[in-house]
Symmetry: C2
Subunit: 337 residues, 2 copies
């Protein structure tokens, strides 16, 4: 069982050829991986994949980001072409890159790495009405779940990383985090790609207006997602839910995936048992969301790019945590039992 | 030139297809790598190696560690056999493991991974007299430099990680850090493998006695090393010096390598331009040493094992920092110039 495997991994760490506790957070991480796999030592993940979920946002019309909407589609093309940060880091850690169009506004060329499951070409402005309908939100969740299932069941993927692309998508992320943790918009809203003070004030006001307009009910996570979320946020929640259902660890990236994990946890609390916080984004909402989820990030490198970049950098840490349990000799093996 | 390459890398980061600064500390790290290589973008390190320097310590007779001296030799055998934590993590990040006996007290079996350059079978008790002679310290430095040179010049290694093994070796590490940063032993001395309060008090007292006995002069780093250091500390300083001389980045591990970097920096300040702090050890002296060196650790995972384990975990971060500069498209490439 999961709990038995966690305990077994903890005992094994006490027997390995090292001072007890000296591998620090890798020890607890290894025990968690054993719990996810239901066996100790846990398998060493050898086929990681990042799923980059992309969508556009009606709220961009409020001026919450200086970047044009067209950048979302252009970056999806860049992911497929291999020239984005996520590709460079994926190659470094040996992960494949899968891109999911769940709500991009522009035209996209077909590509083997791109899964087209567009629910609608971007959300509506969440500060003036619901970002999308409940059924649309559900379809976006299922699109993410579908990609995760295909990667794991057909592709042999044994470690998932979630990433996001969508100009203006930290605005719905802040709204989701405020709605699901009850922290006010001033605390959950940050500078995203690097906006100035004036734009930040506007962004906080927009998030506040959205919360006042919808009065989102945390007991209805799908309703919260539809009212103030984004299509890629929904899809990432789906990747998390399916990863957990398949027993595969899911590494979070920054604030967008952190907000999606809040949704996944609200829909199915047990799914959080499979979630690993890859890094701490600079966005203030990230820490609020992770604290709420009880997750401590592995890395803190002042990153705020998204795409899955920070999550991918944690892949070797997860692999190492498992491998140490599998491959290390014990003190007894060395004659010091 | 180095400075020109740093500036070029900074400009390239502003042009890449991402918000400026969004890759956080990977951007500064990439610029540093460009400076080390003297070109931007810098080469992507593809052949990392960890050098685990091993030695024994006369000061163990004072009771500063509960582990028997024989563990040092046994762990060297374990490194060669592939069953130690450093081996598991090296396999995870694709690094080779090279072991250097520069001062182990026990007999060791020959092994292709083991370089025998024993200066003497362990140091003398630094609290009762000099740990070793000046010439012995110099020979240990040269042994480390020799291994580094061979790895880089003959082995094609382009990224070095330094690690340590030696029962009781955090005691000389604390003494070196106190001597070279002028922080008192209470601040630089920690629990090492996990000693109790009583042993910690003894360890602090032993370090204080050593400093009072020798009055080490920070202007004479080799004298400091001989008086209160260790053979593996000396060898690690040699790896750092030779890595820097060959233009290869050197990633530090925990407190022992941090103390050795203080020695290297005191001997040749320019060598620090090639040094990267891989992680922050739990040992309190680690932060003091890194602050003194002006280095910010990449990882903070509550580790305190040594062997090079924490340094190796930073290898993918270093590789990613270079690769991003080499492989990412620019905004102009995507039509947003």
């Amino acid at each position: 069982s999961g709990e038995g495997a966690v305990a077994e991994a903890g005992e094994r760490h006490l027997a390995l050829a090292k001072p007890p506790g000296s591998l620090g957070r890798l020890e607890g991480l290894g025990a968690r991986l054993a719990g996810m796999a239901g066996e100790s030592p846990p398998p060493v993940p050898g086929s990681p994949a990042v799923v980059v979920c992309a969508g556009d946002h009606g709220v961009l019309d409020r001026g919450v980001s200086p970047w044009p909407r067209e950048v979302t589609a252009a970056m999806v093309g860049n992911f497929c072409g291999g020239g984005a940060a996520v590709n460079a880091i994926a190659r470094t850690v040996g992960a494949r890159v899968s891109v999911l169009d769940v709500g991009v506004a522009g035209e996209l060329e077909r590509h083997p790495s791109l899964r087209g499951a567009r629910v609608r070409p971007g959300t509506d402005d969440l500060s003036r009405g619901p970002a999308m309908g409940r059924e649309e939100a559900a379809r976006a969740v299922l699109a993410g779940a579908g990609v995760a299932e295909e990667l794991v069941e057909s592709g042999g993927v044994d470690l998932l990383v979630v990433g996001d692309m969508g100009i203006a998508n930290t605005t719905p992320a802040s709204a989701l985090i405020s709605a699901l943790t009850d922290h006010p918009p001033e605390e959950t809203t940050g500078r995203g790609t690097g906006i100035d003070d004036e734009t930040l004030n506007l962004k906080v006001r927009v998030v506040r207006e959205a919360l006042e307009l919808h009065g989102p009910d945390p007991a209805d996570p799908l309703g919260v997602l539809a009212a103030v979320g984004g299509l890629e946020h929904a899809a990432i929640a789906g990747v998390i839910l399916m990863g957990a259902a398949c027993g595969v660890p899911v590494i979070l990236d920054g604030v967008v995936s952190n907000s999606a994990a809040l949704v996944a946890g609200a829909l199915a609390p047990d799914s959080l048992g499979y979630v690993i916080a890859g890094h701490l984004s600079v966005e203030p909402g990230a820490k609020i969301a992770l604290d709420h989820l009880g997750l401590e990030p592995l890395l803190d490198l002042d990153m705020r790019l998204g795409e899955g970049t920070g999550g991918l950098l944690a892949v070797p840490l997860v692999q190492a945590a498992a491998r140490l349990l599998v491959e290390m000799a014990t003190l007894e093996d060395l004659g010091f039992g």
